[in-house]
Assembly symmetry: C2
Homo-oligomer: 408 residues x 2
Amino acid sequence: MPSIKPDRVLGDLYALRQIGAYKTGVHRPTFSPEDVASRQWLVDRMTEAGLDARIDGIGNVLGSSRAPGRKMLSGSHIETQNHAGWLDGALGVIYALEAARALRDDPATRDLGVDVIAFCDEEGHFGSFLGSRSFIGEVTEADIDNARDRTHGKPMRKALAEAGYAGRPRLTMDPVRYAGYFEAHIEQGSSLETGKLKIGVVTAIVGLWDYRITATGQQNHAGTTMMWERRDAGLALLRLLGAIDQRFPQVAGPRSVWTIGRIAFAPGEPSIIPGEAKALFQFRDADPLVLQRLEAALYQLVEDANRTGSCTITVENVRHGTPAVMDERFQQALDDATSRRAPGLSVRMPSGAGHDAQYIVRKLPAAMMFVPSIGGISHHWSENTSDEDIVLGAQVFADAIASVLKAG
Amino acid sequence: MPSIKPDRVLGDLYALRQIGAYKTGVHRPTFSPEDVASRQWLVDRMTEAGLDARIDGIGNVLGSSRAPGRKMLSGSHIETQNHAGWLDGALGVIYALEAARALRDDPATRDLGVDVIAFCDEEGHFGSFLGSRSFIGEVTEADIDNARDRTHGKPMRKALAEAGYAGRPRLTMDPVRYAGYFEAHIEQGSSLETGKLKIGVVTAIVGLWDYRITATGQQNHAGTTMMWERRDAGLALLRLLGAIDQRFPQVAGPRSVWTIGRIAFAPGEPSIIPGEAKALFQFRDADPLVLQRLEAALYQLVEDANRTGSCTITVENVRHGTPAVMDERFQQALDDATSRRAPGLSVRMPSGAGHDAQYIVRKLPAAMMFVPSIGGISHHWSENTSDEDIVLGAQVFADAIASVLKAG
């Protein structure tokens, strides 16, 4: 088995952390000067590692191995959420790079190739997984024409031109080249830490189903309109959301999650009965049957509300994400590698968050591996993982890739 | 008893409706060119009616009677909400003007004086009842310095200067001059229409108690944070509001109203568990004991929520409005006048909405009279009252003022 070099892994992660440093985290949104600098930094590291490195027309950074035979594709993303953590994305890219280097360094694995990739904009500053979706051929030029940064509205074309990537071809994956895809990531939850475990072996990336709920009533004066004559859209929505809060635990799976992320009343004045009220509602689960059961429960509750209430409630589905199942052999390879390096300290678990792997799995068998997040913190500058856990994860990750490639 | 002239009342109201006409309503916000024109139009009508008319330094329009003895103060406001109704405010001003004219026209009431007033900005474009509060001496120069239009942010000083009112003295009421205050208004609700009644005799203007409710939890990732480990501020707030919805009917009075006018989650993203959630909550009642009971119930529910929940909820009271009780003799005069003109068609009722009378009653005995609103619509351009009801109301109003002044 290859041996990773702890100082090389940590050294790269610390160097990357300096580019756009914000408190103990990083502010490196897609195509910011810091993000562009970090992509060039990555090209230089890839080149040092003997990979043929390039940045394509959407900002994907790919380092291609010159090794013979089928390669493993591995990576994650390098940009961050605004004012967010130093490891979210970066960890998976550096693990992939270290796996490539460790396999090359060991005579026993020298002929096993790892292509390293940093998919652009996994964090969704300009869209939804544009880099990985481009790499599997699911992004059109028109998609890019229409994309704008969600924070400051800059058109993606302008940002690409400023970054120096405009006019470059976009790379598309050749599935025949690859044995599969491996991605590592911080857990973004506290299951590993709480269970004193070191490695999460992802079984599936959950499906995410998003809904817009709208209640329509009658806007009116909050002083002169008696309770019995009101058609209060805000109250109708609150009652539906209360019913969901009661009902969902009865129909959910053990790891289902559901969230009301936004709510707004119109006109939103203290002395006006809301005539319209809106909420964003989502749920996630790794099991398609559970997702269907949750949706059926939602529609039933809305139907009940419309039958008994004085307002009209409509529900619009805006996303029906399919759960992405990870390859069983790859999961076993991760479990086996953990057994060698940290016996008994891996656990199989779904990923509640989305990752580029959920798109790559459409073309290749894929695996995801998690390392612990201190306090389960994510998408915040205080996100962190201990050096010890980072080093252990890098070793397990490289081992698993080597064993899969060796098995052919 | 004096006889009002239907054509004069309706003619004035229709003329006023032309100034800032919007669909079938009016857009005449405070100190807009249309509002300033309407104030000058009113000065001209007052002058024609033999009143000494002037506009003061805050935009109050006062027409003073030259009759001997104690006068009745009567009026309402002349500006409108944005894109709102043609009678809200205007009706009370024209009723007062018509009462002054009708009493002057009749030899039996010629010596009974009515001072007509249009209080500035009852609709709160720049603040809260600035005109009537100025008239009773409760607005400082600093209050005006700090006031800005809520729609476009223009400083009140600038608006006053543009209107030509800057530098004028502000008029302050001399209570000794007056026997009391009478204000007429559209009902802004549907009680009269539903009950086929013509005149609402207001017993009290309700007290309005306003609260800001804030729930604080822990912002987190909506995919990776399991339900049992969440501290979801949005959900905590929704559960409290649900508990209020259950509890308030048990402790409310028969005409209590309570309203959640605004709600917001932070950061308000579909995939982020809200770390903070806020709501604006208010209730109104004419009975101080009921108001206290409702507040006690609110605080008890918050205490229960904080004892059992994982978030922290705080409540801040931002208004404890005292119910404004109307004068019993004046109420009787309105009932008696209705008995003569439309027997059996008056009803005593609280006013759920605020009016200038709630401030004037601090210095003078006061009365408020309502006429029906078609469909109960208010603060919308489609607000309306039939000509027949307008004319009947004007007559009852003038009769009641005459009888109170005659009784000395």
